[in-house]
Amino acid sequence: MLEAKRLTVGYRRRPVIVGLDFVLRPGEWVALLGPNGSGKTTLLLALLGLLPSSGEVRLSGRPLAELSSWERGRRIAFLPQETPTPEAMRVREVVALGRLPYQGLLGREGPEDREAVAWAMAVTGVEPFADRALDALSGGERQRVFLARALAARPRYLFLDEPTNHLDLAHQARLLRLLAELRDRGLGVLTVLHDPNHARGADRVVVLEAGRKRAEGGYREVLPEVARLYRGWARVAGSELGPVVLPVWEEG
């Protein structure tokens, strides 16, 4: 279990996260929603141990700060909002980089590493272009390669910062299905999402506003609260798939 208590992140004058309690369990998908600047990405980075914070973060009961950076890298993998595309690198090479937390600085690739890389490529469906150059792939394919890199560490927790950005609807849907599958395999998945509707498959939604937890619960439960955050510019509407949030620009 990944657990944060009274987590505060930021400068004294302008804290970005204020006294937040947060839990992520293995086999659970939690979605972070909230307007721009509400602290979603900051929360991810703090839970990764990359930002100075006060309060407690514990991973399986141990304080995060006590773990070495390599240990953290093996347990929590992170897919940022934008990953630069390395020039002239093959897909397999990029995915294999995910094994760094096991190899350290001087280690070499062993059979276990190759197995994990093959598994990650299979799960994400990037095997067919394993030997192609990354810069030759489409944005959606590339995103899956970067996800495979994260999974190659065989982490217990997977953090994704707006993973559906820049993807067309089909690629969005495929990615969200993949996240649900990974959750079913026992991974703890934490996603920052821009589009509240993408949280439909999540087990729990945490709504942030100005660094504080505004609401927490199932997707349907928190949807009215989410719509309210956008002060008249969003509304809950019914659809065949259940309630959704839509942007509203019509007068009245």
Partner: protein, 333 residues
């Protein structure tokens, strides 16, 4: 292209460079003399005392520039980065100018004493100047953490030092030619002591850079990702900067400023064999070594019996190539 072919090509290039570099000169040597001279060290003074140190020196300088160019491109995540980016060239020129002007100011006997006693006045000052420039750039950038600040402070330090060098050249007017010649890059003065020093710098830095090649690979995915994988990035970047600066400073101190090798070689090899730094760093060493020997051959042959500074040749060849890179990047969007 399969990497095995690239390696084979690079070794072939190096062997051709060695043979041609020894054979061609003011006295052309027939092939049996070249091979014989190489196989029996000490037999032929032209081969062993004149041509061979120059060829080996050119190889080591070229290797240093290729290796550090590749490392800087990885470090700055910028394919247009080159070894001089952080002020090494301007620093070395400044150091050399200080050395040359001092030498002119000193009593002849004292200058002679320094020269004979240390054997390395100007290269020594140039080496210190290069290290000083990078040190200054890193301090001004507040460490190696922020790449953009690092590039900017390197550029600033470079232009300030270039200004100071110009001032020194004006102040010590009798030394203008010497400083100027130094900044153009020249391999004509490379002998066995220089080869020894260059080999030492490379032997110190190359294992570090090759060993950290995977760190450079990881950095290409962004520094946040590299950190989440567990890499202690601040410390590693500092080690990379120190190692890359050491070889660059050594090369520029012994041979002056030789442009474009460190930019062009890693770039071309990335196209041929891919962007994995475990391949790119050693391959750029071989490629730089071969390329600089050929550039030196052109410098020696083109205006025979006189010589061009090799820096002029690499700049004339590298400039158009650089434009080609820019044009391709623009075409790719």
């Amino acid at each position: 292209m399969p990497r095995a072919w690239v390696w084979a090509g690079l070794f072939g290039l190096l062997l051709a460079a060695l043979l041609l570099g020894v054979a061609v000169g003011s006295v052309p040597l027939p092939w049996p003399a070249v091979v014989g001279g190489l196989l029996h060290p000490g037999r032929d003074p032209i081969v062993f005392d004149l041509r061979l140190p120059r060829v080996l020196g050119a190889m080591l300088v070229g290797a240093a520039l290729g290796v550090s160019g590749a490392a800087y491109q990885g470090l700055f995540k910028n394919p247009l980065a080159d070894p001089y980016l952080m002020g090494t060239a301007a620093g070395a020129a400044f150091g050399a100018a200080v050395g040359l002007v001092l030498e002119g100011r000193l009593s002849p006997a004292y200058a002679e004493w320094i020269r004979v006693g240390s054997g390395l006045t100007v290269p020594f000052f140039a080496f210190l100047g290069a290290l000083f420039a990078v040190f200054l750039a890193v301090v001004l950038a507040g460490g190696v953490g922020r790449t953009r600040e690092l590039i900017l402070s390197g550029v600033v330090v470079g232009s300030v030092l270039t200004g100071l060098t110009t001032y020194l050249m004006l102040a010590g007017a009798d030394r203008v030619r010497a400083v100027f010649a130094y900044t153009l890059g020249n391999l004509a003065f490379l002998g066995w002591p220089e080869v020894g020093r260059l080999a030492l710098y490379l032997a110190l830095a190359l294992p570090v850079l090759v060993g950290l090649a995977r760190v450079l690979n990881a950095m290409q995915l962004g520094e946040t990702v590299a950190r989440t994988m567990g890499l202690p990035l601040e410390a590693l970047k500092l080690v990379l900067v120190v190692a890359a600066t050491l070889v660059t400073a050594g090369a520029v101190a012994e041979a002056g400023i030789i442009g474009f090798v460190g930019l062009v070689v890693p770039h071309a090899l990335r196209r041929l064999g891919g962007g994995d730094y475990r391949f790119l760093i050693p391959a750029s060493g071989l490629g730089g070594a071969g390329l600089l020997v050929f550039a030196d051959l052109v410098a020696r042959v083109l205006v025979r019996p006189a010589e061009l500074p090799v820096g002029v040749v690499t700049t004339l060849l590298g400039g158009p190539f650089f434009l080609y890179l820019l044009w391709r990047m623009r075409a790719r969007g």
